[in-house]
């Protein structure tokens, strides 16, 4: 597996060579920082405009390990940049300012900064910034592990590495561990981590759906962890788990509401840090699951939907192909697949990750479930999710879409704008909601491996996939759902994750219970994976969907979505069809097998797409009209969908093997 290592070059001299991007509008400070960082033997890139910095980060997804930014900048508020980076690329961000007032420092914390330096910055402070990179990766691994831990099989305990890794002070060991981690399956380490640390909750789609439902029930303002926990009634879940997940969710929603239009795209991809639970996410999650469940294109549509949803929420209108950012997510090439992150970059500030990148994470678990049953719930869920202040209502629309029962297939379209074809999501399994869903899926996926049904695997995978988000800690999403579903193995194997995701997927699909290999990707993902997520899921969803159903309609979701992520369904294609037919590499997954996998993409988009596709099947297969809406914002959902649909059709039956038992895509209100 491997792939991960390539993105993160942890050389023997680590932290030397750490790739730092420093952003400050003050040329004097910038020059001094550059010099200081150079003295620390880091590889420095300086930038005096936040927008330029974002462009640089986007175009070179895995080109940086950490970002240092000033708080006060003329073109963009430093905190906004922080959020964006967290969402889109899931990189650790350090804030700096001459202002050391408590409020400002607190703001940095709440927005997800991993550190805050007071100017004038001393070189000593810079010498240790590498710890944030390590910590983040570690958390990602842990997440991966978490999801992976569900799958009994793949764990390969490697205690030594973990231990070494844990002691950050032990740089040498860390390097060794890290290298090994990169090179070897992360699962091993993860296992260790999990054993060493307290069990991390994997926020699968299902779980996330439940969470979102609970939150919506209580009302986002009144939702307190304790009550949410009670409502969710999930054994083993602690208040702390819920609390941290809620925090991410809130950040995500906040981000959705405060996100500027162009952020939309990044949302999906940036969802790495914390699952932005924008409406999109929830939608996607649901859809995904539903879709996946139906075995039709659900995964794809789901992804698409999610992507769409995410895109929407992210408010990145500008992106014709919202997936573009998602590309990052999907592009497994990047290795740094940040499953979690990929998605919703826009979504929450900083670290909100969509649990389900592909899948609308914002969806409460309930919502997700609702999806199955009725699109409406989705809609409402979304609404709720977006209630926070979703200014653009992007998320709302997405949610809305999802919720509408009738338009099940529409979920995808709705998210995108109504185009999402309804994928008949008979969501038996909870749809992968963006972060949670993903996680859930992962769990489900893993658990269900036994099912062996096509669907099972798919759904499972999806869950696993969903989470690749880089969430550092909360997102169990990291688990790469794809891997987990054995059932999908048939299809999955075909997944050709570009970024190495494939490997994982394939391996997972092959029946491995756990999707471990993907973790490597996650590591890499750290950087910018989130984007990739989005797409991939999408693609995936589509593929799975349904050949038969000619999800076309639903798949309208812009093939671009699929494509973007590079992940292109190929990975997901478990089934075979690499949905990539879409033309864009992204998802080839979809086609059929992957429903679950596609969902994994975590990207909402994927889930959306998938869902749509599946749903479309049942509801209106030829709901072409719906399409483009899937990813209205971010991706050209229509394109995605269509691409997916096309692929699906083209793929032939093989792909649509998913039998999503669990997910009744039909229900997905598209």
């Amino acid at each position: 597996m491997s792939t991960a290592s390539s993105s993160v070059t942890v050389s023997d001299q680590f932290p030397a060579g750490l790739r730092v991007l420093v952003v400050d509008d003050d040329p004097t400070c910038l020059r001094i920082l550059e010099k200081m960082l150079g003295t620390c033997l880091y590889e420095v890139t300086k930038c005096n405009r936040a927008e330029i910095a974002l462009d640089m980060l986007r175009t070179n997804k895995n080109g940086y390990d950490i970002v240092i930014s000033d708080v006060h900048m003329p073109d963009m508020d430093g905190f906004k940049l922080l959020e964006q980076v967290g969402l889109e690329m899931d990189l650790p961000v350090i804030m700096m300012s001459a202002d050391d007032s408590k409020q400002v420092v607190m703001k940095g914390v709440t927005h997800g900064a991993c550190d805050y330096l007071i100017k004038p910055v001393r070189i000593e402070a810079l010498k240790n910034i590498w710890q944030h990179v390590v910590r983040k990766r570690k958390n990602e691994w842990k997440d991966l592990e978490q999801s992976g831990s569900v799958e009994e099989g793949d764990r390969q305990p490697k205690p030594s590495e973990e231990a070494d890794y844990s002691s950050s002070a032990n740089e040498g060991n860390w390097r060794t561990s890290k290298r090994r981690k990169d090179e070897e399956e992360e699962i091993e380490e993860r296992d260790d981590t999990s054993t060493l640390k307290k069990p991390r909750v994997v926020w699968s789609v299902e779980l996330h759906q439940q969470f979102v439902s609970a939150v919506n029930q209580l009302g986002i303002d009144k939702a307190v962890p304790k009550k949410i926990l009670e409502l969710m009634n999930v054994p083993g879940l602690t208040r702390e788990n819920v609390a941290s997940h809620l925090q991410k969710y809130r950040l995500y929603l906040r981000r959705l509401s405060g996100v500027s239009p162009h952020q939309g795209n990044s949302f999906i991809s940036s969802h790495s840090q914390e699952p932005p639970y924008g409406s999109l996410s929830s939608l996607s999650g649901l859809d995904f699951q539903t879709l996946a469940a139906t075995g039709q294109i659900p995964a794809q549509s789901l992804a698409t939907l999610q992507a769409a949803g995410l895109a929407r929420s992210a408010a990145k209108p500008g992106l014709p192909m919202p997936l573009v950012d998602q590309r990052n997510i999907f592009s497994f090439d990047n290795q740094k697949l940040r499953f979690g992150e990929g998605q919703p970059q826009h979504m929450s500030s900083g670290k909100q990750m969509n649990l389900l990148h592909g899948i609308p994470t914002t969806m409460d678990s309930k919502q997700l479930v609702n999806l199955h049953h009725s699109a409406q719930s989705l809609g409402s869920l979304n609404m709720q999710a977006s209630a926070h202040g979703n200014p653009s209502g992007q998320s709302s629309p997405l949610l809305m879409q999802m919720a509408q029962p009738q338009s099940r297939g529409q979920i995808l379209t709705e998210t995108s704008g109504g185009q999402v074809p309804r994928l008949p999501t008979s969501v038996g399994h909870p749809i992968l909601s963006n972060g949670a869903a993903g996680a859930m899926l992962a769990i489900n996926g893993i658990g269900e491996n036994s099912r062996g049904t096509g669907y099972n695997s798919v759904s499972q995978t999806s869950s696993v996939l969903n989470f690749p988000l880089n969430h550092s800690a909360e997102l169990p999403g990291n688990s790469f759902p794809l891997g987990s579903t054995p059932g999908i193995s048939a299809g999955m194997s075909t997944l050709t994750t570009k970024g190495g995701f494939q490997e994982e997927i394939n391996s997972d699909i092959k029946g491995s219970g756990g999707f471990m290999p993907s973790y490597d990707i996650f590591n890499d993902l750290q950087q910018h994976k989130p984007h990739n997520w989005e797409l991939q899921n999408v693609g995936f969803a589509f593929d799975a969907s349904q050949h038969s159903n000619s999800l076309q309609a639903s798949v309208d979701v812009t093939p671009s979505v699929l494509v973007n992520q590079g992940y292109s369904s190929s990975q997901r294609n478990v089934q075979n069809s690499n949905v990539s037919a879409m033309g864009k590499p992204i998802f080839s997954v979809g086609e059929g097998s992957e429903h679950g996998i596609a969902l994994n993409v975590g990207q909402h988009l994927n889930s959306l797409l998938v869902d749509n596709s599946t749903r479309v099947k049942s509801e209106r297969v030829t709901d072409t009209s719906c399409q483009p809406t899937l990813l209205p914002q971010h991706f050209g959902q229509e394109d995605l969908m269509s691409a997916i649909l096309k692929q699906q059709d083209g793929l032939g039956p093989a792909e649509n093997d998913f039998e999503f038992d669990g997910y009744s895509l039909d229900n997905i209100p598209v």
């Binding site: 003050d26 004097t28 400070c29 001459a98 070189i123």
Partner: protein, 142 residues
Amino acid sequence: MERNQQLRRQLASMRQSLFDQGHLDEQFILLEELQDDANPNFVEEVVTLHYRDSARLITTIERALEKSPLDFNKLDGYMHQFKGSSTSIGAKKVKAESTQFREYCEAGNGEGCMKTFQLLKRDYATLRRKLEAYFQQALPGA
């Protein structure tokens, strides 16, 4: 040789007086420590960058102070930037005056702002002149 020594001593004393008179603080020394063979003129480079950027800010603040009524938020914002830059090179007096100016902004004290700004401008000009002379000595041909 003797002339070199003399020049060096002269330079050292110029430098020392900047500290003694309170114009520069430890930050300047940190900058000097960053200077190495790869960047032999680092300190001068940074100081030049600073003066180029801060001159613009001084003008902006001056214009803003001519407006009526005074926009304290804006003034505070500009001064924040200016202060950050001055701090980076270790301009001690100027930094203190910036802080004072910001306090007046917060209090909405326009007159206090203007008075402080005059002091600031004066110390800013003094330091600039001295540093230019210093670098001219230190880096012949600079």
